[in-house]
Symmetry: C2
Subunit: 347 residues, 2 copies
Amino acid sequence: MESAIPKHLVCPRTRHRRIPDDYSPPYPSAVARYKLGVKQVVMAYFGVQYRGAALPNEADKALVSVARAFASDQGPGYWDRAQYVDEANFTNIISVGYWDVPTEFDAWFGRHGAGWTDGTVAGSAVGTFSEILRPTVERFETLFSSDVAEGVACLADGFSGVVQEHAYWGGARDRIPLSQTHDMAPIGVPRVVATGLRQRVIPHENICLIRSGQDWSATQADERRMYVDDVEPVLRAGMDFLRDDGLGIGCFANRYMTVVDSSGRTTEKTYGMSWWKSLAALERWAESHPTHLAIFGAAMKYLGTMGAAAKLKLYHEVTVAAADEQYFEYYNCHPKTGMLRIAASIG
Amino acid sequence: MESAIPKHLVCPRTRHRRIPDDYSPPYPSAVARYKLGVKQVVMAYFGVQYRGAALPNEADKALVSVARAFASDQGPGYWDRAQYVDEANFTNIISVGYWDVPTEFDAWFGRHGAGWTDGTVAGSAVGTFSEILRPTVERFETLFSSDVAEGVACLADGFSGVVQEHAYWGGARDRIPLSQTHDMAPIGVPRVVATGLRQRVIPHENICLIRSGQDWSATQADERRMYVDDVEPVLRAGMDFLRDDGLGIGCFANRYMTVVDSSGRTTEKTYGMSWWKSLAALERWAESHPTHLAIFGAAMKYLGTMGAAAKLKLYHEVTVAAADEQYFEYYNCHPKTGMLRIAASIG
């Protein structure tokens, strides 16, 4: 068993972990390990938004364009795409790219970034947005129930062995290296600044992003039924709560995404992606909301019993970003899109 | 809103709370407040144990005797009595006395203590035991959903206002004043020393005791049905798990007690009383075991909705005792009684 915090990021603590040193988790999980040279990563969500079931030509053009840009020089080390229908009945298709060399992202974004949110790429018949974090490695963590990488972990050098800091409330915080010395409390409030169809969000210190996913494609028989009939409906209820009523508890926005393949077909992978005022707000929801408690209880029971035999794959990544590590821009989007929801909440 | 830690016990911290300073609990709870002069309390559990449904004369005599002793000079400031049938099918009736002047307890115990566990009071047809803690006020905490005192809080001067440190995992730790500077980790292991029919338990540092109770006597209609049909069976499942399978997770013993009135009749009050290797072990169970998660989720939902209108009363007291604040003695008891269970676990 090893610490989730890699050796080169261990520092003298001013803050304690929530567990005693002899704590042993009830089932194994691992974290992604990056090459020592990786100091900072980029997580860039590029969304296109439209109303109705049919994919408009403009949206299709935008999707082709971002895929082509991703494949171009200095593109992301990994990217994937997912979609969902939001509470305003708009379909949102988000292409997410991950970089582990921020200067390469900067060069790439210099060529492709502005066009995404000024109407050049997609025109004005659809909405587009960019939501980008560039956390240092001290500011994010991952957790995996299997050895199949997803999201930012696809940039990693590999997986750790079994880590100690998981399967208890507060584990995510304890896995983030910065928690050794910092409470990661939010400072300030985000605000929206509009210029015509373009809206920027001016961030606050220590916003929190979680991407939390599940892959049930390999499950069969009883395990599949368990996921589809017992787990997924409870998960969906939690996701719906956050989407519709999250603002009051510090969840700025939540999207329950279904991953699509290269042909745009939905897969048996989903992830919840949500923006939070703070890691503390995320912790409070996760550990007290009945739907999430039910999910956690089911997972504890399930993984505690099945262990390595489980075919359901679970993972997440949690980031607490400094203000200068955030970039939010929206073009022609409806007012409940992503971080724009805060405009309503702060008047 | 105020801190659960009383002002006179606040000290410079070396350890942080689990919540940010702006945390606001989703429903109100209060803690017991003691007079400034109270530095240490005594919680003394005197049990009598017998097999079968009928109360043997010896047990009856013992119960009368302890009640008489409690009513005598320097007796407890408060006491109550409860019973349960244990896993070996013995009935255990426990009379619990609380003192807030340890020297008075010492004088009282000097007159009545030895006789309880040497056969003088009860003879040898039944078993008797004493389980006694004498924590300083830095080492225990209470929590109440109503303003009706139970247990050690019956010694208190009154209740606090609404406290901040509750309704999240780790709240009990944060309410214990010692947590400001101490991890309260266990040191050493307890062991059993036998002399004939008498067995003493030599304690370890930082054992943890929880008494966690519920009173549904005032509930009616839907609320009563909710408690009896939905909450109690889940609570019982959790209590049974701890009783039967607790040792592996650090629960030395668990008793799911029903409070009895002065005539010995059962009431609509119960409490779980359990001995733990450490507060951390208790925390891990509470926050990860499906039955307790279900209880917590139901309570969060219920109290969050009903708030002050709830007629179900919940309370608990959690103590982390130093080795020299513990006293365990058993006379003629079966080997699964209370802390004697550890003998099996440590060979």
